[in-house]
Amino acid sequence: MKKFLLLVRTGLRVNFSLSLLKPKYLFRNKKDLWMVPLIGLGLVGLIPVMFFYVRLVVRMYGWLSPLGQQAALLTFALLMGQFLVLVFGFYYVISAFYFSRDLEILVPLPLAPSQVLMSKFTVILVNEYLTVSPIVLPVLVTYGVLSRGGGVYWTRALLTYLLLPVIPLAVVSILVVGLMRLVNFGRKKDALILAGSLFLMTLAIGGQFMLNRSVGAAPDRAAAIRFLSAPDGLVQQIGSKFPPSIWASKALAWGPSGSGPLNALFSIGASLLLFAGLFLAARRFFYRGLIGLGEQTARRRTLSRVRLERGVGSGSRPVRAIFRRELLIMNRTPIFLLNGVLSVILIPILFVVMWNTGKRASDAAALMALVRSADATIAVIAAALFMTISGSLNGTSSSTFSREGGQFWMSKVIPVSPADQVRGKFLHSYAIALLGIAASALVVLLVFHLNLAVALAAVALSMAASFVLTAVGMIIDLARPLLNWTNPQKAIKQNFNVLLAIFADFGVLFLLYLAVRFLGRLGWTGWRTPAALFVLLAALSAAVFKALKAFAARRYRDIEV
């Protein structure tokens, strides 16, 4: 147990760079103080999102409580939280269990496989609380306040929150450990990550499809009466695909007597059972699936003179070389590919699924109503916002320097100016943003049947906005690049810079929202507002890109490796 706790403590320190979160380290250098307004701006940008979320929960509680179905809110939030853990947990689990470089240090140590694996599981578990908190905590708290939950509710709410990620994460972990033992892909580890991730993404989209159907599909009259007359009718309806979310919500909503304690026992029991299952799987299968995985082989084939001649480039093309390097490395590293390229396509696809499966009452439908608005200002801005979020709200630009990791020394020694290196990197990040813009433009044109002129204006506006957001993301990453990672996951998915950049993006979008409101108050309508926004964003793009190049010249000199 002592060894296990030691491993967990070390894992937490390494994974979360805990020392960085302490103010005395965070702001040891005055140059880090720029982060304070940035985080503040991001939080200000998030406040409206949280405000609307809580308001929605309160409103839904108001609708559901007269029917006695308010517990469905809990089921929905818990299900969403567990679903997120199920999908995102896969990346964490597979890369932490099988592909992190610390395994080379841990495996030869006198530690049991279960100690190593369970410590890694615990570290991921802690990480997952961060993932589920923004979705689950507002609902748990709002529900508790509105239902005047007593001590029992709050105790169970805390327990539910703590147990929430255990079941889905244990399920994913057992699946991964079993799969790796059975197949031990070895030479095909990249293919495994890609295939597994795509499978889970399909599952996520399928899950979204089912969720929308179960919530949104209009039941026949008899079925409606049946599930509304039972106190847990809606809970059962929503959670039918994943019973643990039903147990957790019943444990919370059904007070100290009745089925509450029983469901709490179910919840705890299932978590413990799966935890035990994972422990056994770790003991039996972990090292058998792991050993030999690091071996890489490739078919050796001498290139003919002709092929070598064809393969060898010519001349001095530093910007193109940097761009090509970024492109190849990102596309060939599954974690980078999934979080960069694939994520920009996923958002538009999810919207299409939501539009096609929901009862036209989802976010997609709300967006649809806006983009079809008769007012050009609203239509262009809503479509442009959708395209900008699809293209830019990912970790590509805000991890562009961190992704180099231990290889950053090469960027320091090559005779290419920081400005040119930044140009090559910017082109790559921006190309991915453009891919997201193109995918979402297709969606608004083909699925939402948006007017072509409006779509083109939205594309222009989102290209300008993405230019700014890409440069902002790069500045944030360049300010404190994470170069000492041992697991590529840390460079993009667990990189604090990515979170900071998302805060900053929300902040920038919030400022643009204020600009639109200001212009509206001045009486601007029609195409004048989008045109003014475009000019503003173009000017901002030029300024931010200039700042990025100037900052790069300083940072490339100062960063020591």
Binding site: G315, A321, P415
Partner: protein, 241 residues
């Protein structure tokens, strides 16, 4: 060709002096061996020369270009091989060499000739189209060496280049080093292998606790100490303090 003047570098806000007032000149056509115990300041010095670290004080010039005020000009004539070959593992060997060729602006004809020559010498031709992550440690070391030779640099800076190389590759490497300097180039390298330094280097510098405690040809070092002493004995005597 490499001119280091009163360079100092410390870590932990001056608590650890890694390099202390180092002054050293390496001339064109010279192989300069840099020796020292672990933690003496060898790698720090090398990183200062190639621009990975910034000196706290002093200046470094490579081929006449100050590495702080004219870093791009200095880098354009220098290549570097680190002690551990941390390179782009997701690229194939050829893609990596092309990347280096592109950023140093090596013309196609010269690029093709040099790649062919060094792939053949280091027996890497059959692996060049495979991803670098499938290479052994020695193969990675070789591809980094070929990349360092590809631009035809005036100055090569190598940090323990023999580590991981097999006997044949190490032999070719020593021949390459001599060839490079006979053609007027300069080579600065650190090593722990006394025999290599003794036989290969035109001059040797010994660093200890950040300070250069001896510098000269093998004969000069022997004269300063006792005649007929091996480099190993001189090294042990000088650093046993």
């Amino acid at each position: 060709m490499i001119d280091i003047r009163n360079v100092s570098k410390s870590y932990n806000k001056g608590q650890i002096k890694a390099v202390d007032d180092l002054t050293l000149t390496v001339r064109p056509g010279e192989i300069f061996g840099f020796l020292g115990p672990n933690g003496a300041g060898k790698t720090t010095t090398i990183k200062l020369i190639v621009g990975l670290l910034k000196p706290d004080a002093g200046t470094i010039a490579v081929a006449g270009w100050d590495t702080q005020s004219e870093p791009l000009r200095a880098k354009a004539v220098t290549t570097y091989v680190p002690d551990t070959p941390a390179i782009y593992e997701r690229l194939t060997g050829l893609e990596y060499l092309n990347f280096i060729g592109d950023v140093y602006g090596v013309p196609k004809k010269a690029r093709l000739e040099r790649i062919e020559k060094w792939l053949d010498i280091f027996e890497l031709a059959s692996a060049v189209s495979s991803p670098i992550q499938s290479y052994s440690h020695g193969m990675k070391q070789k591809i980094v060496l070929i990349a360092a030779l590809l631009p035809g640099p005036k100055v090569m800076v190598l940090d323990e280049p023999m580590v991981g190389l097999d006997a044949r590759a190490a032999h070719h490497m020593k021949e390459m080093m001599r060839e490079h300097c006979d053609a007027g180039g300069t080579l600065f390298f650190s090593t722990h292998i006394m025999e290599v330094a003794e036989k290969l280097c035109d001059r040797i510098g010994i660093i200890h606790k950040g300070r250069l405690i001896a510098c000269g040809t093998m004969e000069e070092l022997q004269t300063r100490n006792r005649e007929e002493q091996s480099l190993e004995s001189i090294f042990l005597e000088l650093t046993d303090k």
